[in-house]
């Protein structure tokens, strides 16, 4: 069985720009096919399935992880490609970026005006000003997706560097959890969803939850670390540290996670001695709200993996955080009873 580390590398390097997640979806299918039944790719492009050996009539649980990443789409151009953004781009990371274009993965670079000709011009450009150079004539088709290239590497200790960790670290944890649950089943009816379009308002998750109709949902995602050098005068203690353990989201962009699940997770983490941290920034995270609001409401909890530079093609994650998040979610499932949701 491939290790968490090997899976994370493959998942990080796979391409899956929101709305065109084919490559990463195929990889996830390959990594999980032995343990899932009723595997489907739905209308949105979500990859869903039911854990084999689940207990029919047991509590119906959905485990989700987003598989897409931000990128660009070709919009035209002659010598250089014009593009449009896919997802929320941090333009600082677009400067002089390396990219891969379309399914054929043509190499390209984002043009950057040399400092000799642009000294003192410090405003971040608009996304519509991005130009991509393939070295040749524009051979790309309008509508093709463009992915940023990360530079995966194992740094010191348990920290790895790579792209698309916001979703892919969560995918790697969910793959590991599926393996763990297959090896030691729980008396639950477990469904999994690797969701599409998380980076475009979390719309894949809505459809996945509508289709799978869970009684409770746990969502894995990334959480931005803020254990970084601060501006002068900013004495705030960091909320989310790399290596600090799974992140429980106390607030998200479009809502507050289910408080019963939140309290349950917090007390269980403490009882089991598993590291956790609380993130109450409201900066991102829309899938939770989307699933919460499906059907007549689904109690939903987000567990996130700490990621430094989450919107960069070279983010950092700690493998220990991934392992601890997987362990905490497994413990949460093992002790899960319907009564938690009745309180």
């Amino acid at each position: 069985m491939p290790t968490l580390r090997e899976n994370l590398k493959r998942l990080s390097e796979a391409i899956g720009v929101s709305g065109e997640e084919r490559e990463v979806r195929q990889l996830l299918r390959e990594l999980t096919q032995d343990h899932l039944e009723d595997v489907a790719v739905d209308v949105m492009g979500n990859l869903t399935g039911r854990l084999k050996g689940g207990q029919a009539g047991g509590l119906r649980v959905l485990l989700g992880a987003p598989m897409d990443e931000v990128g660009l789409m070709v919009s035209g151009g002659e010598t250089f490609l014009n593009v449009l953004p896919v997802g929320r781009l941090d333009m600082r990371y677009v400067a002089a970026a390396r990219v891969l274009i379309g399914a054929q993965k043509t190499a390209g670079v984002v043009l950057f005006v040399p400092i000799h000709k642009s000294y003192g011009q410090n405003s971040l450009p608009e996304p519509k000003s991005i130009l991509v150079d393939t070295g040749g004539k524009n051979g790309a088709k309008v509508g093709e997706r463009i992915a940023f290239v990360g530079n995966y590497a194992e740094l010191g200790g348990d920290v790895v560097r790579g792209k698309a960790f916001q979703g892919r670290a969560a995918c790697a944890v969910l793959v590991a959890l599926i393996e763990s649950l297959a090896a030691a089943p729980l008396p639950l009816d477990i469904y999994v969803a690797f969701t599409a379009q998380a980076r475009i308002y979390g719309r894949g998750a809505t459809v996945a939850a509508n289709r799978l109709k869970p009684q409770v949902a746990f969502l894995l995602d990334g959480s931005e670390c803020d254990d970084l050098p601060r501006a002068e005068g900013d004495t705030q203690a960091p909320m989310v540290r790399l290596g600090g353990g799974a992140v429980l989201r106390a607030a998200e962009e479009m809502g507050i996670p289910d408080q019963r699940l939140f309290a349950y997770a917090r007390s269980l983490a403490e009882a089991r001695g598993l590291p956790y941290q609380i993130d109450f920034s409201e900066a991102y995270g829309t899938e939770n709200a989307n699933i919460s609001l499906t059907q007549a409401g689904v109690p939903t909890l987000s567990l996130s993996i700490p990621v430094r530079y989450m919107s960069s093609p070279n983010g950092l994650v700690s493998l220990t955080d991934l392992e601890n998040t997987q362990r905490l979610l497994r413990e949460l499932l093992a002790a899960l009873t319907p009564s938690i949701l009745e309180s």
Binding site: F80, D90, R92, Y93, A95, A96, A97, R98, T106, A107, G108, V109, V110, L111, F112, V113, P114, I115, H116, K117, S118, N122, S123, L124, L131, D133, T134, G135, G136, K137, G139, N151, A153, E154, L155, G156, G157, V159, V160, R161, E224, D226, L228, P229, R230, A231, D234, L242, S281, A283, R308, Y309, M310, S311, S312, P313, N314, L316, S318
Partner: protein, 360 residues
Amino acid sequence: MDIKAHLKALCEAHAPSGYESAVREVILAAWQPLTDAQEVSRMGSLVAYKHGGGAPPRRKIMLCAHMDEIGMIVSHFEGAFLRVRSLGGIDSRAIVGKPVLVHTREGALSGVVGARPLSLLSEAEQERYPALNELYVDLGLSAEEVGRRVRVGDIVTLDLPLIALQERRVAGKALDNRACVAVVTVCLEALQRLKHTWDVLAVASVQEEVGLHGARAEAHRLNPDLAIALDVTFAPQPGVPSPAFELGGGAPLALGANFHPALFEALKKTAERLELPAPIEPTPMASGTDAWAIQISRDGIPTALLGIPTRNMHTSVETVDLRDIERCGRLVAEFIASLDEDFLAQISWDQPEPSKKEDA
């Protein structure tokens, strides 16, 4: 020689100004079989000698391409993070999120150039690129580990491979000026098949990016009769005003006060004879290249400058066309082969005035 593989080895060596050893090794390995003698100068520049076929004492032409790249240097620690200063014109706008190597006494550590996420920035900060003093290097290590392994003064380089684009174009870091080192390699290779009477002094100079220091010292020490400096120049792209030179359009030959006009003419004639494109790069004053230092060495050295058109200069996606490198190398080799004992006399500044008057 596989020019792309050679260029890849050159560009992927980590060698900022003052710390050129790694790339010097790569160049020495390439030039050794093509030249008669090699030495490393006191400054650290590599000089390779290819003797001419003439009777001694022979005239000498110096080819000079700088081998250093822009980089950074660790200035202080902030917890687990390294603050850095520029070593030769790094563009802080183009390095955010880029992978780097920190070169420590125990070897290189991989890291990334970090910046605070948007959620930690003021509205004004969200609208602009961070300055270098707002960036830092993150090695993913604890503060203790960083303090134990890294020292103030350690060198930081971008860690990105050379990649192939379409149309025989390549993109990567340090093509400024390893592209021109490759030009010298192509030239030396071509000279294996050409007869030349002059001695050729191939110089891979140090510390160009911090003030043309290597070229200045070697020009003085070697005291050549002629010099050709080689450095990258600008290719057209939005935001780069004319004059700029198309990738694949040939190596521009510079014209201006920094260059000897007769040497310029002689190179231009060689290009015309070979039917090689050699557009003129108007450079009225300072060229900002090794040519600037070489020209005023000793009694003055007739100097020329050839360039390789480059996009995205001083970023990690500098882009050049391999055909320009090949053609420029061939042009220089053919020019060297054309040099004879009388050449210096032919490049005198002022020809005698025409004696015949048109009007009485």
